[in-house]
Structure formats: C-alpha cells, structure tokens
Subunit: 155 residues, 3 copies
C-alpha cells in the first residue's frame, strides 16, 4: 500500500489549504505591525540627478538588490519560519496561561492587601501632616483684595 | 450494581451542566480583565509586502502557530486549570474571611485611636506654629489690588 | 420533664428569629464597607477569545471555584464568626467606654490648658516677629494689578 510521493504531497497540501481558508495570503501584515521593515529598493538606494551612473549598471543594481532579497528571504523562511513559529506558539501559550491563571488572580489579591495598607498609611500621614497645613494656612489670611470704583469726581 | 463507565460519566456531565446553567461559555472574559493576552496570529507574525516567503510556508506557519497554541493551551488547562482554581478559591476565601472579620473591625478601632491622637497633635501643632503663621501673615498685607474702570473722558 | 432535643432546638431558633426581626439578612453590607472583597468568579478568572480551553473544563473550573469558596467560607464562618464577633464586641465596648469617660473629658481639659499657653505664646511671637513681617511687606507693594474694560467706542 505504498502511494507515490507526489500524490501524498498533493493531498497534504489540499488539507493545509482547507484548514487555512480564512488566511489572507496576499496582505500578510493586516495590522501593519512590521511596517518598519517594509522597505523597497527605492527606500534604500537612489541616485540624485547630480550623480547618476550608467543606465545598465542602475538596472543591474535594481535586479541584484531585489532579486537577492527576494530569494534570500524565501530561503530563510523556507527552513526557519515553521520551527520559529512553533517556538513562539509555545512561548505565547505559556505566557498566556501564566497570565490568566496566576498573574491576574495574584494582582487581585495584591489590590486587596494594598487597600488595607492604604487606609492605615493615609490615616497616619493625615494625622501627622494635616495639622501643620492647617496651622500655616493662616499665613495667607493677611491678603486683602479691595474692589474700588473710581470716585465720581474723576469721571 | 456496577454501572458502565460511560453512563456514569454522562450522568456526571449533565449534573455539571445543570449547575453551571448561567455560565457564559462563549465569551469567557466579560469584563475584559485579560484583554492583554488576547493575542492572535496576526498580532504576532506578519510579513510586510517587501518580504514575503512561499505561500505554502506562510500557510504552514499559520497552521503551526494557531494549532500549537490551541492544543498546548487546551492541554495545560486540562490538567492545571481545576487544581489552580481550587487553590485560588482557598486563597480568596481566606483573604475575604480575614478582611471581613479581622481587617475591617481593626481599621475601625484604628480610626478611633487616630481620632484621639489627631486631636492632641492638632492642638499642639496649632498652638506652637499658628502664631508664627499669623505673625508673618502681615508680609502679604502690603498687596493692594485695585479695580479701576477707565474715566469716561478717555472713551 | 425531659423534652426531646429537636423540639428544644426549634424553640431556640424561633427566639433568635424574634430577637433579630429588623436585621437585613439578604443585603448584609448596606454601607459597602467590605466592597473591596466583593469578588466573583468573573473578576478573577477569565479566558480571552484567543485562549479558551475545553468547555467541560471551563464549567468545572467555575464549579470548583464558586463551590469551594462558598463552602470554605461557610465552614470558616460556622466555627469562627461567633467567637470573633464576641471578641470584637468586648473590644469595642472597652474602647467606647474609655473614649466617653476618659478621652473626651481629658481632651476638654487639654483644650483649656492649651488655650492659656496659646495666648502667652501668641503674644510673645507676635511681638517679636510681626515687626519683621511688616517691614518686609513692602517687598510686595510693587505688585499692581489693573482690570480695564475696553472703551465703548471700540466695540
């Protein structure tokens, strides 16, 4: 019952495509989280009018730059993208799990304890410091503001 | 009188469902307390237009990332969620009990004691410091603010 | 004249109920003094959309958390609430008694003594310090604030 390799690969591929029907394969950065590295040839290399080389060289530069980038990225992604995605999936799962089941409830406990400490500390600080504020408030009691309208004779 | 395992499991399940009729099993974060870790594939991994790998690899990355997260979280939750929930239930019960029966009455006693201390302390501070404040209040007695309306002749 | 246990228990219960007719047994925190620990399941544990476990486990978590809290608190309150309430009743009685019969009259005496000290101290401080304040009041005599309304012709 050995099936030809090609057929198996094709079947696997269609399974993958079925499972990723909703995935946007054209625009792969919907939320623009990697806009910073969305860099094309014209963002990096440009000859101003005052300094232009031979046209053939300019064409060659364009070809080399875009071609090398295209294939080098594809090669790197081919071998590394899936294992890296696996690692990040594990990392994010662990972080999510710890956040939901440990961090959030702990922070709730922390809030309750802080509430008790806050009441004690507020009481102490108010008792010790407020009397000074009240005592020195009298400093400003000497300010007098008078509203005078000019005497009638001057009008 | 030994009952088959399957039947027992089914009966237990329906009991659990009856006891949790009001529980929202679809939206499990009504109050958005864990919105921080509500992270999907497109929030983490994105290829901008200038750097896109082979489509099959992109599909595979999506499958691996979402699949691993889904099953890894499910597995963790399967084994750890209930014991952790048990521990937090005990912790919150103890904190609640101590808060209600010890902390709140103690804080009330603390308030009463502080009130006595505050009256003595305020009396002392006011007696010692207020005279200085009153004496130096005269510094500001030189400020005069006059409201003048322009004489009619200038209009 | 030995009465059956059950009957006695019933009679005692009705006596307790008669003596606590006005008590609100539904809303036991009228003044919201323990609102901080009014924490429900959804305030502590929540799975965001991106990380949801099996439904049965979620139901189980809810049951365990709410059930354990319910019964653990009931058990603690059953054995500890009445003795703790007794202790606080004694403590508050002593504090109230001391406050009424010792602290308040003492604070009155303290106020009278302070009043005498204050008059002497105020006299001394005013005599020594106020002349300086008056002398330096001229520092602020240069401030002039003028409020002008625009003449009618410009309107």
């Amino acid at each position: 019952s050995k099936k030809p390799r090609r057929e198996r690969a094709q079947r696997e591929r269609s399974v993958v495509e079925n499972l990723t029907v909703g995935l946007n394969v054209i625009d792969r950065d919907d939320k623009h989280i990697n806009e910073t590295v969305n860099i094309n040839f014209e963002d990096v290399i440009a000859e101003p009018d005052a300094a232009q080389g031979i046209e053939a060289i300019w064409r060659g530069v364009f070809l080399i730059f875009t071609g090398v980038r295209f294939w080098a990225y594809r090669l790197l992604a081919l071998f590394l993208a899936i294992p890296i995605a696996f690692v990040w999936a594990i990392v994010f799962t662990l972080i999510t799990f710890v956040y939901i089941w440990v961090a959030t409830p702990f922070l709730k406990v922390f809030d309750i304890l802080l509430n008790i400490i806050r009441r004690v500390w507020t009481g102490l600080v108010m008792t010790v410091c407020e009397p000074f504020a009240l005592a020195f408030a009298s400093v400003f009691s000497g300010i007098r503001i008078k509203h005078q309208s000019k005497p009638d004779s001057e009008v």
